[in-house]
């Protein structure tokens, strides 16, 4: 699978509420050693939102500092996105390209800030 495929998936909670579409994935480099050199790039969480420019600019995730006008505007839009742990995925539906979450996916709630 490619990330361009993954970015087409929608995420739906256990009670059927659509959270949005995947717009980014958070990677933590703490997996098993690969090639004997570095730790694997484990995907820890999915950023689920509406897509759009705000989620590309990374005012929150990338800690872009300014200018104030853009930080407020795009920061607010970006913060509407939710972060869903990969561990909370219940199952994948490749036909409808939907990811269903477990019932209590809020339990280990993560934020955009790292």
């Amino acid at each position: 699978m490619r990330i361009s495929d993954l970015l087409e998936y929608s995420v739906v909670s256990a009670d059927g509420a659509r959270l949005g579409r995947i717009s980014d994935v958070r990677v933590i480099q703490d997996g098993p050693l690969i090639g004997g050199i570095q730790a694997a790039f484990r995907i820890d969480a999915l950023v689920v939102g509406r897509g759009g420019l705000a989620e590309r600019l990374g005012y929150v995730r990338g800690r872009v500092e300014g200018p104030w006008m853009l930080r407020v505007l795009f920061g607010r839009l970006e913060r509407r996105a939710q972060v869903v742990a990969v561990a909370d995925i219940a199952n994948w539906d490749d036909d409808t390209r939907t990811i269903h979450l477990v019932a209590d996916h809020h339990r280990g709630r993560r934020t955009l800030e790292t």
Binding site: D5, E8, G51, G52, L53, D94, D95, R97
Partner: protein, 169 residues
């Protein structure tokens, strides 16, 4: 995999930019291809319309006449060389010829317009003749005497100015 079947919707931004770019492209290409210029003319449906087009044509002609006068003056004072003067005068002669042709092709909508047309057509053709005389002299290398030869253009310029004043009223 059904991936290929469902094409991803373009984000609004892309569609917008692409749309605007397309429109702009067509507009520009069209405008440039049709030779759309300041003195371009279309059909005139009313007297006011015709008057406005007459004014634009007279303004462009006045600019050309005055440019040639200034060039002749500059050249007579020894302030420019032949190639510069000759190319510049030819450009203005072309402009004048273009205005003349364009103006002649506009259909005057009523009898009042006929008078306007008669007056300006006359002015344009005299000015064109006088500019041609300057061009002929410059091509023959008569740079010093240009101001003399351009003398009649003063009257042309005054007449065009008067024409403009009369419709500006």
């Amino acid at each position: 995999m059904p991936l290929g079947k469902r094409r991803r919707r373009l984000p609004a931004g892309v569609a917008g930019v692409a749309g605007v770019a397309g429109v702009v492209f067509v507009l520009t290409a069209g405008a440039l291809a049709s030779g759309c210029s300041e003195h371009s003319v279309g059909p005139a449906r009313t007297y006011d319309d015709y008057e406005r087009k007459s004014r634009t044509s007279a303004e462009v002609a006045l600019s050309a006449v005055e440019t040639v006068r200034l060039l002749a003056e500059t050249s007579s004072d020894g302030n420019a060389w032949g190639a510069y003067t000759s190319v510049s005068i030819s450009e203005q002669e072309d402009t004048l010829a273009e205005v003349q042709g364009d103006y002649a092709s506009i259909q005057p909508p009523d009898h009042r317009s006929d008078d306007l047309r008669a007056e300006l057509t006359d002015l344009l053709s005299t000015a064109t003749d006088h500019v041609a005389a300057v061009r002929i002299a410059v091509r023959r290398g008569n740079l010093d005497g240009l101001e003399e030869i351009a003398q009649p253009l003063i009257d042309d310029s005054d007449a065009l100015q008067q024409f403009l004043d009369s419709i500006e009223r």
